[in-house]
């Protein structure tokens, strides 16, 4: 049997939406997205791209795994069409994002992966754009008892081992691990390719499994270890002294003088 890759992909409100599209509801301790569509978390897209590159070089079957309250099928379809072979969706009201933390999410994903019937490599994004926590990948590896490497900018598979270029603050390091293993992927790996219209059409015929909370045999209630007790909008605005002049060059010179006068520089 060929290499089996599972890519974990979360749906999040488009993180590139303007600040006004994230309504902070303090009383319910929830962020309510306004007028922005769900997208695949960008780092999970990077993880899917990593999987597709491995598939291109050594061959693999890729299963896209997504867990959520109600998953946009259009978003899943487009991601699958980029180069996956199947999708496994875990869906239900019990998976309200604000009720889950990293540890309950990792437990649920681990249960779903046990149902998926075997894997050699699990790829996750380095963190989700909504929670920014960066824990689920490492948590999943711990629960499954497999080695984990974080922050990949390049992932290669050879002779039953995974070889990862891991981003460091001042460069990168190369780390290897035996399969099965889990790797979290960083943005440096590169963007997910766009699927062709033809591929999107063809992807509709690819196998899709949908599981509900009861199918997993894991109750997310009581699994969380972190509780959100407050939520507020950040205060960042300052009052800006706009330096104006007849020409942009003049404005640049004036800015230098103003900064000097105000003893900023």
């Amino acid at each position: 049997m060929g290499l089996r890759i599972i890519v974990c992909a979360k749906q999040v409100p488009d993180p590139e939406g303007p600040p006004s599209s994230f309504e902070v509801n303090a009383s319910e301790r929830k962020v309510i997205p306004r007028g922005i569509p769900p997208v695949i978390n960008p780092f999970d897209e990077n993880a899917l791209e990593a999987a597709i590159r491995i598939k291109e070089s050594v061959g693999a079957s890729i299963t896209l795994l997504s867990l959520g309250k109600s998953l946009s099928r259009a978003v899943i379809l487009k991601a699958v069409a980029a180069g996956a072979d199947a999708s496994l969706l875990v869906e239900g009201d019990a998976f309200e994002p604000s009720d889950l933390d990293s540890s309950s999410t990792a437990s649920l994903l681990a249960a779903a992966i046990e149902k998926a019937g075997g894997y050699d490599l699990i790829l996750c994004g380095r963190q989700a754009a909504d929670t920014n926590a960066g824990q689920v990948g490492l948590g999943l590896a711990c629960i499954l008892g497999i080695p984990a490497i974080t922050l990949a900018q390049k992932v290669e598979v050879e002779d039953g081992r995974v070889r990862v270029e891991r981003v460091l603050p001042d460069g990168y390091e190369v780390v290897e691990a035996p399969l099965p293993a889990l790797v979290t992927v960083s943005g440096e790996l590169g963007d997910l390719r766009y699927p062709s219209l033809q591929a999107i059409k063809a992807a509709k015929a690819l196998p899709q499994t949908v599981l509900g909370p009861d199918d997993l045999g894991v109750d997310p209630h009581g699994l969380a270890r972190v509780e959100t007790v407050g939520l507020e909008a950040p205060k960042r605005e300052r009052s800006c002294k706009l330096v104006e002049a007849d020409t942009p060059e003049e404005a640049g010179r004036k800015l230098a003088l103003v900064l000097r006068q105000d003893k900023i520089l």
């Binding site: 994230f22 460069g171 706009l242």
Partner: protein, 336 residues
């Protein structure tokens, strides 16, 4: 048990071998939490030949420093560090374990938290004790909201950003240093195969007093040469938003933001950067923010102290030339 219920910080060293700035900041924050909880403050440092660093930590506010020694701990290896820490944490249950939200902290703490079934709060920008509980504050939704969170397990773990805690002055009576030889129970599966350094270590971004950053509007590598010229004139470093990094105009080590570096220089100059929340998360704590952008409605102006509306191609060379010509006012120069 001794040490149980204590506040523990996980220290790391800078390239010089001395405790990293973040670790001294964590000691400051840890002291505040320990005082609020009526608990002791301990520091743990892992490595090989860490005696000097351990003594320095003991002089900077730790009641006790545990120096976890082994030749194989000289550089960060996830599994070895995890095993060494799990071995140590068999002997006591801290109330809270704090680490920096650094390359090591981000990688190690989730491993420890899941191994020990503890709650972990990452990327904290604040922590305080309220009614006997520790509350952690962290950005969510790319910085569009700030969540206050608490951990429901006996030990809470957290990674904390740079410049959140405040380092305290050395104490008159240093804490005690305890040297423990690390032991490893599980076999190692990860195999490090070497590393490549890209960043100019002469002026690391996080420590630069001035950061000059360029965004998508720079349009290419050429613009970054002008930013470097300005940065070197000011004794600062060059940063970037994500698009220039994605496009290869600037190395990835330059990225400022929620998935890049968090900087808090005295002066942050943002050129052709719109001011996305993801970018602001990495620099909104700067002392003064200066923006150059051709769009008068760009959000960056709302979060800046000084701004010029205009094309950087005209504004920037004139700005740099004028700074070069006009001597700094008395007391205003940090670089003359």
């Amino acid at each position: 048990m001794e040490g149980s219920g204590s506040v523990v910080i996980l220290a790391e060293t800078a390239e010089s071998g001395a405790p990293a700035a973040i670790s001294l900041e964590l000691l400051g924050l840890g002291r505040d939490l320990a005082d609020g909880l009526g608990a002791d403050l301990s520091a743990v440092i892992l490595g090989s030949g860490m005696g000097d660093a351990a003594r320095e930590l003991a002089a900077r506010g730790a009641d006790e420093v545990i120096q976890l020694e082994h030749a194989s701990l000289s550089t960060y290896n996830p599994e070895l560090y995890q095993e060494a820490m799990l071995g140590l944490l068999k002997s006591f249950t801290p109330r809270v374990l704090l680490a920096g939200h650094t390359a090591m902290g981000q990688d190690l703490l989730p491993r420890l938290a899941f191994s020990l079934s503890c709650g972990l709060v990452t990327d904290c920008v604040g922590a305080r004790v309220e009614g006997g509980q520790i509350l952690f504050v962290r950005p969510v939704y790319g910085g569009n909201a700030l969540a206050t969170q608490r951990v429901t397990t006996a030990t809470a773990m957290a990674t904390v950003r740079a410049r959140v805690g405040e380092a305290k002055a050395p104490t008159a009576t240093p804490g005690e240093v305890k040297v423990i030889e690390a032991s490893f129970a599980a076999p190692v599966r990860l195999e490090p195969k070497g590393r490549e350094t890209l960043e100019d270590r002469e002026c690391p971004l996080e420590e630069a007093p001035v950061v000059v950053s360029g965004g998508r509007g720079m349009g290419g590598e050429e613009g970054f040469a002008l930013l470097r010229e300005l940065a070197s004139l000011l004794g600062g470093a060059v940063g970037a938003s994500r698009p220039p990094v994605d496009s290869g105009w600037a190395p990835s080590t330059c990225q400022v933001g929620i998935t890049g570096k968090v900087v808090a220089p005295d002066i942050y100059i943002a050129v052709a950067i719109s001011g996305s929340t993801q970018h602001l998360s990495g620099m909104s704590e700067a002392g003064k923010i200066v923006a150059i952008n051709k769009d008068p409605d760009a959000y960056i102006f709302k979060v800046s102290d000084y701004g010029v509306v205009g094309d950087w191609k005209q504004v920037l060379p004139a700005f740099t030339a004028a700074l070069r010509e006009a001597a700094p006012e008395q007391g205003g120069a940090r670089w003359a």
